[in-house]
């Protein structure tokens, strides 16, 4: 029996080479898309999955304003954690980011990602220890634990335990070597325990949120209790004390400061990667929305190709009605016929999956580059999912046509005339409408995405950075050194003077911020009756605003000519001004962090973070006005001339590695590129959408092509009769394409709401966004209609040109 099945299967393949090939190709593209999505999905979901404490260990996050969530905490809480909380098994203060610093062993230097944490860091993140153990690895502030890879790089084959390395001028003893067992939100190259001194220095300061904090609860159910306790402590030690020190009641204080926005949130590690409310870990947050988009779109494409398969299979089945009839007469049962057709689907699906794996294997490098990941086709979980895809595809794609075929009425089939039967037409037409809807979704969707990306990439940012280099700059002094601030200032001045001398350099300046990054500091202040304004501290050097071509809307910019500009002058941006509610700001005094600053100008709003974010309130002053600000400058901005730019940059690099930083590599980028990187992921989404759009349209058109072919084939006799009765070609074409236009319109209408809703949702990612106009819909409709007409009319035209006689006589 199996051989009989295979023979007839091969016969049909041979006789329908084009359709079979396109069918398999369509199915394998659909499956390949889903495999890509699954690989990405698995990778993102594997974060912290290995961590046995993922439900019990929480990160403490503070909501400081309606929109700001900080994964950082105050130091004095520690004293209370030790004594007042019996719900807590242990706690760990740590930096939830990496220092990228040099660690030296003898002559070997390595730049490592280092986390500074309290001694029980490994209780929160229980890495596997090769040498030492979790308890003793960070037992004091001379300890360092390193990863296995680092150990091999620094020590080669030597046993690293007990070896002394130099880090930031300190000698540290290696007390543990670990391996990170899986993807983790924290996976540093090395962990130190130097944080306790920093905590000590801040132990009375309830206003400085600087430290990451992890809590391990005995019972995760106590979460709310712990939150309430911490919140109460924060209130008592902040608001109550502050009100007291100002000599006013709590109510008065709250009224004056616009209430207390502080809310504490405990977030388990299992939510850290994909469902975190903030970006609170060194390895960052996954893009859950993008992940859902990927999975959603790839499922849509798979549905599309399965629909194609079903359509073709049922249409083809009519041709095979006679075979089925004969089989039934000579004794095949219904289930026997079903088995035969499912068997064929199994063969086709197997081909398709194999082809899909080939496609994935070949394009995985591009995909990895696109996602910035290192995905591989591997893992028991993946193989299981692959089997699942296989089974689902067979069930969905196979059972429909098989049952349909098995239900053919034997007698009708054998009497002939079955080729014109209408059976199954509703199913195929329904599927066709679904395909039109999916295609509409993609055409309109990708057009809207394209429009939005075009909008943000051509939008006037309020600054110009195409000839300005932004060079990474490290502050190498320790704040405890004598004359620390002066040293920082002198070094910056030296660099500025020297680089300015280089041929081709137009100007050198900087600010305590960098474009396209939210690094930097904010300080809250109030003005008259305004609520708390959390302004970005935009400390700048003279000339910085002019160099970046940032516009002054009112008043003047900072200038060397005015002695007061380094003492008490400030500018605010339009957003800050609006929040202050001041009509005539020039000359007004603002009480900023216990300094009395005078407003000399208003800066026109410009984008700092990226198009996703609103322009925050900003406060500008000179570095000397607030003298601790210069240490926050992590970039030196250099404007270079257009000609001989490469030479100029090479000269700067030469100077830099010799005089500024001998250990760390020279890193720079143009400011406009740096800014563009903030919405890189959206550009990628646009490209992804466009690529999928092409694939979807191809698959859908192929489906339409084959379905139209079959349906016209079925109507050949009708066409012949009409022609005999005198129908002209264009009348026939109208008649034949009419129904497809109707399906096209219905499919279009079905897709309208979902595409509008989902794309609006997507656009909400952007503070600067387009409104969805009617144009994408018109374009989408016209494109869909034209493509439909091209496909259908070409098939229909062919049909009207055939010999009438053949169909009148022999059918």
């Amino acid at each position: 029996m199996l051989r009989n099945w295979i023979n007839i299967f091969l016969y049909h393949i041979k006789n329908n080479k084009l359709f079979t090939a396109l069918n398999v190709l369509g199915l394998s593209i659909g499956i390949a898309g889903l495999i890509f999505a699954i690989l990405y999905w698995n990778d993102e979901h594997s974060y912290n999955d290995w961590n046995p404490n993922k439900e019990r260990v929480f990160q403490v996050i503070n909501r400081v304003s309606a929109t700001d969530y900080w994964a950082s905490n105050v130091a004095p809480l520690e004293a209370h954690l030790k004594t007042d909380f019996n719900e807590i098994e242990s706690y760990c203060y740590m930096d939830n980011w990496y220092y990228e610093e040099i660690v030296q062993y003898k002559n070997k230097k390595e730049i490592l990602k280092i986390t500074d944490a309290q001694r029980n860091f490994f209780e929160m993140f229980p890495f596997d220890f090769i040498h030492g153990n979790a308890k003793t690895a960070l037992k004091d502030n001379t300890s360092i634990a390193i990863s296995k890879a680092v150990a091999e790089r620094l020590f080669g084959t030597e046993n690293p335990m007990g070896k002394i390395v130099t880090y930031s001028g300190k000698k540290l003893v290696v007390r543990g070597v670990y391996v990170v067992p899986g993807k983790s939100s924290m996976q540093p190259n090395a962990v130190t325990n130097l944080i306790d001194n920093r905590l000590l220095a801040e132990k009375e300061n309830w206003g400085n949120f600087s430290f990451g904090l992890m809590l391990k609860l005995k019972n995760p159910g106590d979460k709310e209790k712990v939150i309430a306790k911490i919140q109460k402590l924060m209130f008592e030690n902040r608001i109550v004390k502050w009100a007291k020190s100002e000599g006013i009641t709590i109510e008065e204080w709250l009224k004056k400061n616009g209430g207390d926005d502080l809310k504490v949130i405990l977030e388990p590690i299992k939510d850290a990667r994909l469902h975190s409310i903030t970006d609170g870990y060194a390895e960052g947050k996954g893009n859950y929305q993008f992940l859902l988009i990927m999975v959603g779109l790839s499922v849509l494409i798979l549905i599309l190709s399965i629909v194609n398969y079903i359509n073709l299979a049922t249409a083809n089945a009519i041709k095979r009605a006679k075979e089925v009839g004969v089989r039934k007469i000579i004794g095949a049962s219904k289930s026997n016929i079903i088995k035969q057709f499912i068997f064929e689907t199994i063969l086709i699906t197997t081909f398709s999956i194999l082809l899909a794996l080939v496609i994935v294997e070949l394009s995985l490098p591009y995909y990895n580059e696109f996602l910035g990941k290192k995905l591989v086709i591997f893992g028991s979980q993946f193989y299981l999912q692959l089997v699942l895809i296989f089974i689902i595809t067979i069930v969905v794609a196979g059972i429909f046509p098989a049952v349909y075929v098995s239900n053919f009425e034997t007698l009708k089939v054998l009497k002939g005339n079955f080729g014109r039967s209408k059976s199954g037409v509703w199913l195929r037409n329904g599927m066709l409408i679904l395909q039109f809807a999916i295609a509409t979704f993609f055409i309109i969707g990708s057009y809207i995405v394209y429009e939005q990306i075009k909008y943000i990439s051509t939008k006037d940012l309020g600054f110009k950075g195409d000839q300005v280099l932004s060079i990474s700059y490290r502050n190498k002094y320790n704040w405890k050194e004598d004359n620390y601030k002066k040293k920082v200032y002198n070094r910056y001045n030296m660099i500025k003077t020297e680089i300015s001398k280089i041929n081709g350099v137009e100007q050198v300046a900087t600010g305590a911020f960098s474009f396209g990054s939210s690094n930097g500091s904010t300080t809250g202040f109030t003005y008259k009756n305004s609520h708390n304004i959390q302004g970005r501290n935009m400390a700048v050097d003279f000339g910085m605003l002019e160099m970046m071509q940032i516009q002054i809307k009112e008043g003047r910019s900072l200038s060397e000519k005015f002695a007061s500009d380094t003492i008490n002058s400030m500018l605010v941006n339009e957003t800050a001004l609006k929040e202050m509610g001041e009509k005539n700001p020039i000359g007004k005094e603002v009480n900023w962090n216990e300094n009395k600053l005078k407003i000399i100008g208003v800066v026109k709003d410009f984008n700092l973070f990226g198009p996703q974010d609103k322009v925050p309130p900003m406060v500008f002053f000179h570095f000397k006005t607030v003298d601790w600000m210069l240490q926050n400058a992590s970039k030196i901005h250099v404007k270079v001339k257009g000609e001989n730019m490469e030479q100029t940059i090479a000269d700067i690099e030469k100077f830099w590695v010799k005089n500024v930083d001998t250990d760390y590599p020279f890193q720079y980028d143009f400011v406009d590129k740096e800014y563009a990187r903030t919405y890189e992921t959206y550009v990628k989404q646009k490209n992804l959408f466009s690529l999928l759009n092409v694939i979807v349209i191809l698959i859908a058109l192929f489906g339409l092509f084959s379905l139209a072919s079959f349906s016209i084939q079925r109507r050949m006799k009708e066409i012949a009769i009409r022609k005999t009765l005198g129908a002209e070609t264009n009348v026939l074409l109208k008649e034949l394409s009419k129904q497809y236009i109707v399906f096209c319109v219905i499919g279009f209408l079905i897709a309208l709401f979902p595409v509008y809703y989902l794309l609006n949702l997507w656009l909400e990612n952007f503070a600067f966004r387009i409104d969805i106009s009617i144009i994408p819909f018109i374009i989408g409709f016209v494109v869909l209609l034209i493509l439909t007409l091209v496909v259908v009319l070409s098939r229909a035209y062919q049909a009207t040109q055939v010999e009438v006689l053949k169909y009148l006589k022999y059918e």
């Binding site: 009708e718 009769i721 005198g726 129908a727």
Partner: protein
């Protein structure tokens, strides 16, 4: 009305060349009822198809209503066809997806007759052929005889100059067959020109003239003395 002169039709395959029609000449006058008879492959159907403009000739002349038909473009053929020719087929060739009414109406649509006019005409012809009560049915719901009546109604709806019938009784039992032949005879009596292809001597006897064909040529011609009653008893 129809003047055919030295008409030939050659089918070529890779190996052989078959002459389906070999220099055939016929004239059919207005109001005549002519039958073509012959064995399978004699060329009779080919001739009918060429007359009906469904097929082209290889050489010769064919004049319909004093207009040369050979060499006409598809569009012009289609125009001549829809205005002048009514077809009746052995297997009826009705469109299963359309109701009886819609089937009969089709030629009028292609001749741009207005909808109200169409309705009137369909009702008249249905009345005449006794299928008024079947207008809403679909072809598959009718008996063979009724289906052929529908086909005849469709052929006549446009008042064609000539009716071409290709074995119109071939798929019918003798009773229904007889009815159809009487229908054709009536039409002839009312002045229609009819050209019919058949295998049946009996059917042929209804016509005025029978042409016998064999191997693509006309063998002989015979005038029929119609005396229907004798045969029917």
């Amino acid at each position: 009305m129809i003047k055919i002169n030295n008409l030939s039709k050659v089918f070529r395959t890779e190996e052989v060349e078959t002459k389906a029609l070999n220099e055939v000449s016929i004239t059919i006058n207005q109001g005549e009822f002519v039958t073509i008879m012959g064995a399978s492959g004699s060329g009779k159907s080919t001739l009918l198809n060429i007359v009906g403009l469904l097929d082209g000739a290889s050489s010769g002349n064919y004049e319909l209503l004093n207009q040369e038909m050979i060499g006409l473009k598809e569009q012009e053929k289609s125009k001549v066809r829809k205005q002048n020719i009514g077809f009746i087929f052995q297997n009826f060739n009705l469109i299963d997806e359309l109701s009886v009414y819609d089937n009969i109406e089709l030629p009028l649509i292609y001749n741009n007759v207005s909808s109200s006019e169409r309705k009137k005409k369909v009702e008249v012809i249905a009345e005449r052929l006794g299928i008024s009560h079947r207008l809403k049915h679909y072809p598959q719901q009718l008996s063979g005889g009724q289906q052929q009546r529908v086909a005849v109604a469709r052929a006549l709806i446009n008042d064609p100059k000539i009716i071409l019938a290709d074995e119109p009784t071939g798929n019918l039992d003798s009773k229904n067959g007889n009815e159809v032949m009487e229908l054709l005879t009536d039409l002839h009596a009312q002045g229609s020109t009819i050209l019919m292809v058949t295998h049946s001597d009996y059917d042929a006897s209804f016509s005025q003239r029978t042409i016998f064909m064999k191997d693509g040529i006309i063998l002989s011609e015979k005038k029929n003395n119609r005396n229907v009653d004798v045969f029917v008893s």
